[in-house]
């Protein structure tokens, strides 16, 4: 394995297409945000163009990689490189969520109590926000905005069960692919994908409920901010994970993957389990505690 000669891919147009896509996405997203509330749609157009180029790139690049893999060009070493690359990518995602969990923790432990006069901040409270009382969830902000908190029972609890179940079914699918049982593999994977999309639908419903019934919006002070950014970025990751699993499902249906070569399946599965773990932390720190 070590002594065989290395495989180094030949030149490829996909990365530069990807870089151009990133350029359009960054410019487009920037302009979109700057043009919020105006009639100007040039930002949205550039952003959409960037996303289209990115999808084109991803499709082409992955197709190319799958073809190479089918030709048997990849050694066990390449496979290890892919797996390690994916693990480090997931670690970077963990750190991204860490920033927002850090903000949540800081707000709960420091900034909100301090604004209420804790520690040596009595004068902050008395001079700046005399009527403010520290509490969590922060239902009345120092500026006086009022909201209601999202309870952990009901939809969030159901969603927790759904996502945890999907992780289990995905694990069964993983076991099935390793012993090359195609039928259970397809069924379990299908169930996982369906659960994923149900989760997303319920999450959307929860947002509607929060906005309409609870007056819990993105602008409702630090409680609403951390709630929406954490659940929002999580939801974005569930969407990506569900799309990845759907693609894997299509490939399974097409007869791709063998019991020892199924990196795409593995990567998507790891990603899904990661998204699941983030949800458990979310459920505990955002909803329950």
């Amino acid at each position: 394995m070590q002594s065989q000669s290395y495989y180094v891919p030949a030149q490829s147009p996909w990365p530069i297409i990807g870089a151009v896509a990133m350029f359009f996405i960054a410019v487009g997203a920037g302009l979109t945000v700057m043009q919020l509330g105006s009639e100007d749609l040039s930002g949205v157009l550039i952003l959409s163009l960037g996303v289209l180029i990115l999808l084109y790139m991803l499709f082409g690049w992955f197709k190319h990689v799958i073809q190479e893999s089918d030709k048997g060009l990849y050694s066990a070493q390449m496979d290890r490189s892919f797996k390690q690359g994916m693990s480090w990518f997931i670690f970077s995602e963990v750190m991204f969520f860490f920033a927002f969990f850090g903000a949540l923790l800081y707000a709960r432990v420091f900034s909100v109590p301090w604004l209420g006069g804790a520690s040596n901040n009595q004068m902050t409270n008395e001079v700046l926000w005399p009527n403010f009382e520290a509490m969590w969830p922060l239902l009345t902000t120092p500026a006086g905005d009022v909201t209601q908190s999202m309870p952990w029972y009901g939809l969030p609890l159901i969603n927790t069960v759904i996502l945890l179940t999907s992780s289990v079914t995905l694990h069964f699918a993983h076991k099935a692919i390793e012993s090359n049982k195609r039928k259970p593999l397809t069924i379990y994977l299908l169930i996982t994908v369906i659960l994923g999309f149900i989760f997303l639908a319920l999450q959307a419903q929860e947002y509607v409920h929060a906005y309409e019934a609870l007056n819990l919006t993105l602008q409702s002070g630090i409680y609403g901010n951390t709630f929406y950014l954490l659940t929002g970025f999580h939801g974005m990751h569930v969407t990506i994970g569900a799309i990845l699993l759907t693609i894997v499902l299509i490939r399974v249906a097409k007869g791709h993957f063998t019991e020892d070569k199924h990196f795409a399946f593995q990567a998507a599965a790891w990603y899904w389990h990661f998204v699941d773990v983030v949800w458990v932390c979310l459920f505990v720190f955002v909803y329950v505690l």
């Binding site: 180094v8 990133m22 410019v27 500026a143």
Partner: protein, 526 residues
């Protein structure tokens, strides 16, 4: 299978020419060169901005530019030098050298390597373009503290945010590539404790990058939502706190500082033994010291915020933790000195830069130690003393190490020896001017001159004039470097495979210039 492998190797033989070669490349040497050239261009652009700053500060009073433009210059100068010059230069060196040092055929993920490079020019095009837009570019300092970047920033801040986002994506992909290459592609026999130190330091740097670049992404995202979507992460009226921004930013920012210096340690640990003709003193202690510095970098961030308000316990913890860093850093400096001790030293250009690095970086380290002392920092905070400190560690530290690395490996890359006389001019001009430039900043800082201002009190006038003259001289000296490298790339005296007689490592076993593909089969490391 073997025939397929051969056919793919055959594919390498068709050389794309012209622009396509550079756009589509998957070769670590070509991508390394792209990174280095990009970094040089950014160094000159960022340097030109520094010249604007120094021209304005040559005399007290508002002389040349308007204060808002001045703020844009300090901000973008910082951003470009950190993300556009120093980091890509190290990534370029990593691309060129790591595969050759560990006996790998290329980086582990060559196509992603290309992608992470080509994002960079686009990201900086966005950043620079925003300078020419109505309202101007970012003007809140490279640290983009809230509320400067939220309540008081101009409308173009969203472009800054997304430019930083894609720079971050580029850095993370680059770092993943480095880690996977080192972990997975070492030649048989290249055990962990045989790794060249440049590889070790980069491994740890890459870990730091993957750990903190996403936190930076989180910070800019919160700035974006605070500014455009009505959130109040950094606004007390909604229960947030502007100080929270500083915590999140510096949780990224402090490891970032080490991202810019650990590879430099690796370079110096490579060059000093070569020209001392001795093995590096205390190899394993170097590895452990690097790891300790990386670990400590995660628990010292709030020493950037001593004056912004923290409980006493926090001030003390961050002071002591920060001072602890001087232990592993001291280990390194003593090891370099001990390597030179009774060695048969010769003073080639890379060695001259390395010795300058050891002396001047240590000086920057000492001023860092002064800043770490909480009660003293209340005096130094936000003065030119801080500017002097971080320019000593970043210019005479990181940038000098990059110069040393280029002079060390340029003959390997091009196959030609550069003009020694020109390089000596570059070294001496840089060494003298950089000290005229940064040393007096200590004095004006201690006397109370604040940083990031276009105008200052009259008593600082003489020192500032001297600083500016040093600045212009240092800026001009770098043109000698550009000329020297350019000439060497075009031609010159041919060099053997082992350019320096005291050098060790796999990179000296391949011919000079290094062929496009090295080690298509793994070498055996004894």
């Amino acid at each position: 299978m073997s025939t397929q492998v051969q056919s793919s190797e055959h594919a390498h033989e068709e050389h794309l020419t012209g622009i396509k070669r550079w756009l589509f490349t998957t070769n670590h040497k070509e991508i390394g060169s792209l990174y280095l050239i990009f970094s040089l261009v950014m160094f000159l652009i960022g340097g030109a901005m520094a010249m604007v700053i120094r021209a304005e500060l040559f005399q007290p009073g508002l002389q040349l530019v308007d204060p808002h433009f001045f703020n844009q210059m300090t901000t973008v100068h910082g951003l470009i030098m950190v993300f556009g010059a120093v980091m890509p230069a190290f990534t370029g060196l990593a691309n060129w050298m790591i595969p050759m040092m560990i006996g790998a055929p290329d980086m582990a993920l060559p196509r992603m390597n290309n992608w992470s490079f080509w994002i960079l020019p686009f990201a900086f095009a966005i950043l620079l373009a925003s300078l020419f837009m109505e309202g101007g570019g970012p003007a809140f300092g490279w640290t983009f503290y809230a509320p400067l970047s939220t309540t008081y920033s101009n409308d173009n801040t969203a472009l800054f945010v997304f430019a930083v986002h894609i720079m971050g994506i580029s850095s993370i992909m680059g770092a993943i590539n480095v880690i996977v290459t080192i972990v997975n592609l070492r030649a048989p026999g290249m055990t962990w404790m045989k790794l060249p130190l440049f590889v070790w330091t980069w491994l740890i740097t890459a870990f730091l990058l993957i750990a903190v670049m996403p936190v930076l992404a989180g910070a800019v995202t919160m700035v974006l939502t605070d500014k455009y979507f009505g959130t109040s992460f950094f606004d007390a009226a909604g229960g947030g706190d502007p100080v929270m921004f500083q915590h999140i930013f510096w949780f990224f920012g402090h490891p970032e500082v080490y991202i810019m210096i650990l590879p430099a340690f690796g370079i110096i640990s490579t060059i000093v033994p070569t020209f001392s003709r001795k093995k590096l003193f205390g190899y394993s202690s170097m590895v452990y010291a690097t790891s300790s510095i990386a670990f400590l970098s995660f628990i010292v961030w709030a020493h950037h915020m001593f004056t912004t308000g923290m409980p006493l316990a926090g001030e003390l913890f961050f002071m002591y933790a920060t001072m602890l860093i001087s232990v592993p850093t001291g280990v390194k400096v003593f090891n370099w000195v001990a390597t030179m001790w009774r060695g048969s030293i010769s003073f080639e250009i890379p060695m001259m830069f390395s010795i300058a690095f050891i002396v001047l970086f240590t000086l920057g380290g000492f001023s860092g130690l002064m800043l770490a002392i909480t009660p003293a920092d209340f005096q130094y905070h936000d003065t030119y003393f801080v500017v002097a400190h971080f320019h000593y560690v970043l210019v005479t530290g990181a940038v000098f190490s990059i110069m040393a690395a280029v002079y060390y490996w340029l003959p390997k890359w091009t196959g030609h020896m550069y003009c020694i006389t020109t390089a000596k001019w570059h070294f001496w001009m840089s060494l003298i001017s950089v000290n005229i430039l940064f040393f007096p900043m200590h004095f004006v800082g201690l006397a109370g001159m604040p940083r990031r201002i276009p105008d200052y009190a009259l008593q600082f006038a003489d020192f500032n004039a001297i600083i500016s003259i040093g600045g212009f001289a240092f800026g001009l000296s770098q043109l000698i470097f550009v000329w020297c490298v350019f000439k060497c790339a075009r031609g010159g005296e041919s060099v053997p495979a082992k350019v320096w007689d005291g050098a060790e490592g796999l990179e000296w076993e391949v011919p000079s210039p290094a062929p496009l593909h090295t080690f298509s089969t793994p070498p055996e490391v004894k």
